[in-house]
């Protein structure tokens, strides 16, 4: 296109076709900009999917969630053989069939936690949160780390007016890094966030709303801004400031604002020096740059804050044994846990490993056997 010697007399003209092409490209780019941060769960291919998406994009989360949920309804194509828990029946909107399936499973295997979760979810769908809580409670007694049960119990607690309990359950689920296995969870949380957000400003549980939007951020990056806004309001209102700072810190971290995230976590510790999750987060952060002193301090403080919470044992072991070569330190702490909770299976397992590293093989074997016994007792169907 160059070369004045061979060139035509005038430069290129801008044709109307170019203007049309530009307009088309701009329209598509704006649509892409709006929709690309959304996860496939929010771009549902169903009869009500487009309406749900429009409601969601216009900020009507509660109505959008109900429309998304309606979009999941359909014919029941999965037989009991492939749906012991009744979840797929519930997913397709056949609550009665789901109840039957879950009850049948429970009759055969009384400890089936997933079937309990389905019964709880059915109660939640029928707007009976207290009944739902009882089912989720039973599931969590069986499997304390069940992520689906934790999220759904948080929804039930939010509905029964216990924002503190809901936040505790949400934090326990969110720290796992999983959004849950059930595709219905996101809509239940969205619905709760929409309903609570519609309340009069003075009646809003600000910290709970911050946590709900933190969960929704997993599916839509822009929800992070709402989570941060609610967290800041919660801090100003004195509504569980440590948890609000935790949410603020996590969202800053996800946005790549690491310095702001560190600051928020440190403020969470000023509000509550024994906030185990903020301590663990700071330990992980220190581990990323290789600062073992801070990592050790934070993870041991996290353990001290929650000595029976098995969730922190893995990180503790990774630091004490993996990075510091301190099986004695690990064994001492696990013994402390067992003094408080003799049936803590994870503590027996970790103590067995630490004792093995110390060369105390006979004692290690005893704890390993206890670990196997307690783990079997905690799993489904035993």
């Amino acid at each position: 296109m160059d070369g004045p010697a061979r060139s035509s007399s005038s430069p290129l003209r801008l044709r109307p076709a170019v203007v049309v092409a530009t307009a088309l490209a701009l329209v598509w780019s704006v649509a892409y900009w709006q929709l690309s941060p959304l996860s496939p769960s929010l771009i549902q291919i169903s009869r009500t999917g487009p309406r749900a998406l429009l409601l969601y994009l216009s900020g009507k989360s509660g109505d959008a969630a109900r429309a998304y949920r309606a979009g999941q309804h359909g014919q029941l194509r999965v037989s009991y053989a492939d749906d012991h828990t009744g979840y797929w029946a519930l997913y397709a909107g056949h609550a009665d069939a789901a109840t039957k399936r879950a009850r049948m499973t429970l009759a055969l295997v009384p400890g089936a936690a997933d079937a309990r979760v389905t019964l709880g979810e059915i109660a939640l769908e029928r707007d009976r949160p207290a009944e739902a809580l009882a089912e989720f409670g039973a599931a969590l007694r069986r499997r304390p780390g069940d992520i689906d049960a934790l999220y759904l119990a948080a929804v039930a607690l939010g509905r029964t007016g216990d924002p503190g309990g809901a936040i505790d359950h949400l934090n326990r689920a969110l720290r796992s890094g999983s959004a849950g296995k059930r595709e219905t969870i996101v809509y239940r949380i969205m619905e709760l966030a929409g309903d609570l957000g519609r309340r009069a400003p003075a009646e809003r549980p600000l910290c709970l709303l911050a946590h709900l939007h933190r969960y929704l951020r997993i599916f839509d990056e822009r929800q992070g801004a709402a989570a941060m806004a609610y967290a800041r309001q919660a801090i100003d209102a004195g509504d569980r400031p440590a948890d609000a700072y935790l949410t603020l810190g996590v969202v800053h971290d996800k946005r790549g604002e690491y310095e702001a995230a560190r600051l928020a976590m440190r403020r969470a510790l000023i509000a509550d020096p024994r906030h185990a999750e903020a301590l663990r987060w700071l330990a992980v952060e220190a581990g990323k740059v290789g600062d073992l002193l801070v990592q050790h301090e934070m993870i041991t403080r996290a353990f001290d804050a929650a000595p029976t919470d098995a969730f922190y044992f893995r990180d503790l072991e990774a630091v004490l044994i993996g990075k510091l070569g301190d099986p004695l330190g690990m064994a001492t702490r696990m013994r402390r846990t067992l003094a408080l909770d003799a049936d803590n299976a994870e503590a027996h397992g970790r103590l067995a490993r630490a004792l093995g590293a110390l060369g105390e093989h006979a004692r290690a074997r005893l704890h390993a056997e206890r670990f196997v016994e307690l783990s079997a007792r905690g799993s489904d169907g035993r």
């Binding site: 296109m1 160059d2 070369g3 004045p4 010697a5 061979r6 060139s7 035509s8 007399s9 005038s10 430069p11 290129l12 801008l14 044709r15 076709a17 170019v18 049309v20 092409a21 530009t22 088309l24 490209a25 701009l26 598509w28 780019s29 892409y32 900009w33 690309s36 496939p40 769960s41 771009i43 291919i45 790549g256 604002e257 690491y258 310095e259 952060e285 990323k288 740059v289 290789g290 600062d291 073992l292 002193l293 050790h296 301090e297 041991t300 004490l320 990075k323 510091l324 070569g325 301190d326 004695l328 330190g329 060369g359």
Partner: protein, 359 residues
């Protein structure tokens, strides 16, 4: 310049758009090379930033040349046809992009984790993103060309402005050529450097840069030369740390090479936690790894008595690791530290004897 090469260069110079496009490419490449062999000097460390600024100015000249280009008959015809069908091309690309959510949807339908699912998700995500950037670049380019034509029209009314624009055009090209030559010097300075290099310690005083770009620097206060400032362009892959994780007050070790032409350049930078060893040992006294590192550091620093004390403490907690204690003892004797070595041997002998004695 004569012969085939000379002819080719002259022909290239007659193609103003292609020339500046090539210059843009060269600037980008040399800026990247300047970042690879980053100079340790506080001002020269900004070479990559200078490359980025020159690249932006070159892009401006490219836009100006495209705006005033008079294409040849053949290429003009091709462009005219392409422009006529532009809306159809855009529409087709958009329709093809329907594939993106379809791929993403197909991936979402798949259970479990598999490489097919991962690739489908990635493809679905990438096709939309690629088209978005294609459109964004095209629209921005078109907007720039239109703006440049308007500016040219205004400039044509004032000969002074037109002359200034022409001088700026040549000045930028000359500067870019000088920059490329300088970056080439830095590249050779680093590539053919055979000097062993040295380690410098420092503390980060500031971390600054341009958000969303790899252009981030750490300003260091040198511990070896008080008052000396070292500026390091952060290279996450080589330094094993992202700029966002750096903050003022952190201590670092910088491995500096002399350079073929005597221009010192930074090979790597590491966060330094050696000063944290003693407090770490104090907070985790039974931990083996930090105490071993501490003993080694103390031996290197000639702090014999303290090294022997920590080695004794180590032996108390880890009576099975006789090899490490023997090595410390040997190192002490080699350094003519007979008394600390003897104390260590005596102290270690006792627990070992107890461990071996009757139960």
């Amino acid at each position: 310049m004569t012969g085939v090469v000379g002819q080719a260069v002259r022909r290239l110079l007659r193609l103003p758009v292609l020339t500046i496009a090539l210059l843009c490419g060269l600037t980008l490449w040399f800026a990247d090379m300047a970042g690879t062999y980053r100079p340790a000097h506080w001002l020269l460390a900004l070479t990559m930033l200078a490359g980025g600024i020159l690249l932006a100015l070159d892009a401006l000249i490219l836009t100006r040349r495209v705006a005033s280009a008079r294409p040849s008959e053949v290429s003009g015809h091709v462009i005219e046809v392409a422009l006529r069908y532009a809306p159809l091309v855009v529409l087709n690309l958009i329709l093809l992009n329907v594939l993106a959510p379809a791929l993403g949807f197909a991936a979402a339908l798949m259970d479990g984790v598999s490489w097919i699912k991962t690739w489908l998700t990635l493809l679905g995500w990438l096709s939309g993103r690629a088209l978005f950037w294609l459109f964004a670049i095209a629209v921005a380019g078109l907007g720039a060309v239109v703006a440049m034509r308007l500016a040219e029209r205004v400039a044509r009314r004032s000969p002074l402005v037109a002359r200034a624009a022409s001088i700026a055009d040549r000045g930028i090209i000359a500067l870019t050529a000088i920059y490329c030559a300088w970056a080439m010097v830095l590249t050779f300075n680093g590539t053919f450097d055979r000097t062993p290099g040295s380690e410098r310690r420092g503390e980060i005083t500031a971390v600054w840069g341009i958000a969303g770009t790899p252009l981030w620097w750490a300003d260091l206060q040198s511990a070896d030369h008080p008052g000396g400032l070292v500026r390091v362009l952060v290279f996450p892959e080589r330094d094993r740390v992202a700029p966002a994780l750096l903050s003022p007050g952190q201590r670092v070790r910088v491995h500096v090479r002399g350079g073929l032409f005597g221009l010192a350049w930074v090979e790597r930078m590491r966060l330094d936690f050696e000063h944290a060893l003693e407090p770490l040992v104090a907070s985790a006294p039974s931990a083996a790894i930090p105490r071993r590192h501490l003993v080694e550091t103390l031996l290197r620093g000639g702090r014999w008595t303290e090294a022997a004390e920590h080695a004794r403490a180590y032996a108390r907690y880890h009576p099975g690791d006789r090899e490490f204690v023997s090595r410390v003892s040997a190192a002490l004797r080699e350094a003519r530290q007979g008394e600390p070595a003897a104390q260590l041997d005596r102290a270690v002998g006792a627990p070992l004897a107890r461990a071996q004695g009757p139960r």
